[in-house]
Symmetry: C2
Subunit: 104 residues, 2 copies
């Protein structure tokens, strides 16, 4: 408590958490797509060229778990599900765009 403890936990970098929220091959693109409005599973599968059910499924779950996307289920046949940006997700859009400007 008094001084230099050697704590192995590596929370030295808070931004890591957010970086992780968008890490991986498909999450950035899904997040980008979500800014256009609600989207359905098969719709994403079609748009994300080169992806597959498994990968999209995992990415969506992770985005949901980190609170960026929300899932709305319409229990009818055929099943209809929509993924939309949460308020937290919307709050990230400006930053997301700022990132682009720094790219070059």
């Amino acid at each position: 408590m008094t001084t230099n403890e050697v704590i192995e936990v590596n929370n030295s970098c808070p931004a890591e958490a957010l970086l992780k929220m968008l890490s991986g091959k498909w999450k950035p693109q899904i997040f980008l797509r979500s800014q256009q409005g609600p989207m359905r599973f098969s719709e994403l599968l079609r748009d994300l060229k080169g992806s597959n059910k498994q990968s999209v499924s995992v990415a969506l779950r992770e985005l949901e778990e980190s609170g960026l996307l929300s899932k709305a289920t319409i229990t009818q046949k055929p099943l209809h599900i929509e993924y939309s940006l949460t308020e937290k997700g919307k709050a990230m859009i400006p930053i997301f765009h700022t990132l682009e400007l720094l790219t070059d």
Copy 2:
């Protein structure tokens, strides 16, 4: 080569480039550390608990290649090398900090 090869290039998401600049286990922490001023290799190795020469070496090279860090060599014995934030790197600091605020 006029043939239309099936290149799956997917540049649909510009922010991906920047996300990639800070992706990986050590780059975020190194970038954070660099905000405190110039740093040396062995210094980083000491501070980044659980890392090793190889990983730090690769991370530094990638940060350098993406233009966030610059390398200054003093060719004397013993070798002395300093890594510092570039102007581009400095420009990213505010965003980096904004990211933290959105984490929760």
